[in-house]
């Protein structure tokens, strides 16, 4: 299969700690790919590595996007190829208006598109277009605006890092609706979450644990596995499974 995004054996170490330990994943065009994993499993690190953030250059492995090796490209170059990220905890900007923030990434800006994007995240355009993306916004409002900005951009691949976590965020139904709208407009989605209720939105799901992808397949199967077998990653690499035996997930 021809993947839109493919990673080959991605390794990343930060401050002497191995965080990504050989990530292999393939996302087909048009797919909603659900990446499920407990807190601390390395999901955001993978997102930053895919986006090309500084200090997230993989120690080993490759990232292929639309047939091109992007492993050494800058964030800007990746974004211009059509890859973007809705940040888990988005930055605040003093003095930057919501309408300008949304417009930044748009190829053909129009008021109609701005309003559409805000409505898609259940924010009233008249109330928010003129507001500032500063810390007067609640974290949930800020996360919605982040999703709106990504939606407005019509990227080829949108990485959504935990759009469902935090206070005052979009409801699961609204996120599902937004993702379907993005997909309908030709955007492939990498949906990162630690909540298994989110998984049914995906076409395919993968389970991440300790910096590795352990299982890929039918969303329902992966969800069940995660809910039944996966414990918070406090117990290093070993997880106690029901029945008293220690086994790798």
């Amino acid at each position: 299969m021809e993947f839109l995004l493919k990673t080959e054996d991605l390794h990343l170490e930060r401050n002497g700690q191995k965080i990504l330990r050989g990530v292999n994943m393939g996302i087909a065009p048009g797919q909603v790919y659900g990446l499920l994993g407990r807190n601390g499993s390395g999901k955001s690190t993978l997102a930053y590595t895919l986006m090309g953030c500084t200090e997230y250059t993989p120690d080993r492995g490759r990232i292929i996007f639309a047939g091109q090796d992007i492993t050494t490209l800058s964030i800007t170059e990746r974004a211009r190829l059509g890859l973007t990220l809705a940040w888990q905890n988005p930055a605040h900007f003093e003095g930057l208006k919501v309408k300008d923030y949304l417009t930044l990434g748009m190829k053909d800006p129009s008021l109609e598109r701005l309003e559409q994007a805000l409505s898609a995240v259940a924010l009233s355009p008249s109330a928010y277009l003129e507001r500032t993306v500063n810390d007067a916004l609640s974290s949930g409002e800020r996360k919605r605006i982040e999703l709106a900005a990504v939606y407005a951009m019509r990227p080829r691949l949108a990485i959504l890092d935990e759009p469902d976590s935090g206070i005052d965020v979009l409801s699961l139904d609204d996120i599902a609706r937004l993702i379907r709208r993005m997909a309908a407009e030709g955007t492939t989605v990498l949906l990162i979450t630690h909540r298994d209720e989110m998984v049914p939105v995906a076409d395919v799901a993968a389970l991440m644990c300790e910096g590795e992808i352990l299982r890929v397949g039918e969303p329902q199967t992966v969800r069940e596995h995660y809910a039944r077998r996966c414990r918070p990653c406090e117990v290093a690499t070993l997880v106690e499974a029901p029945g008293g035996v220690y086994e790798r997930l």
Binding site: L85, W87, E94, G95, L96, G105
Partner: protein, 312 residues
Amino acid sequence: MSDFEAILKAYERSGGDPNFLRSPKVASLVISGNRVLGANQVPGVRIEPEEIEHGVRVKVIVEPGTRLDVPAHLCFGVIPAEGVQEILPEFEIGAGSRAEFIAHCTFPNAVNVRHLMEARIHVGENATMKYGETHYHGEAGGVEVVPKAQVTVDKGGHYSSEFALTTGRVGKLDFDYVVDVAAHGVAELVAKAYGYGNDAISVKETIRLNGEYARGLAKSRIAVRDEATSEVMGATEGNAPFARGHVDCIEVVRDRAVANAIPIVKVRDDRAYVTHEAAIGTVNKKELETLMSRGLDEETAVDVIIRGMLAG
């Protein structure tokens, strides 16, 4: 082109709307070099300019109780590449009046221009004065600007000023405002500048809260790039019971530029309360990477962040 038209054109480039300077209904003053090209008075507002060797001395009197519905517009400029301009204004804002002034200073062709402003401002009891000053200096960096003001705010008066030098080169800026505030009075000083090349920025804002319940804010937003330097001194004194003051300084530094912040806080009455925050640093990495993830190149992203900081 007449001198008046030339200065209006420059005024427009610095962000002003020339129609205000032409309208008989709007109080205005237009000064080019040391010549007064226009002075329009409206009921309750007297403008009395006097040309001096290198500039203009001017009295601006707002009669007590006057409510100025449309801001007064002031335009100071030097069109030639070289010159000295001294502006010596005296503002008398009568008790209970309310007036806003919008000043534009423009030196579009400056290679060696010195602009000095020494203002004396008296805001009467329960009067309100808003003063905004926007500069445009061209791209040569050949301007030296020395705005100085001594402001006295009487009981219950309100003075706020915003100085902005954020388009074109700064050149050399030596800003120094001192405000004395009486009981229940308010002073707000805001200074914004964006320096690059070898621009040198010095901003001093001093607020002395001398009366009970006087309040003050000394705020500055400065960005420097290339080899530019900036030094900000925000001083607030709480000299009376229940006076409250705050110093708020943000400086953003890029490249080889150097920024300094010296917040000075003095309290002479244990019931006064003065706080300060100063943040100097480079552009926040996460903000930068967020904008880059939308396709902006690094330079543009830095500029968007700095412009936002200056607008905030």
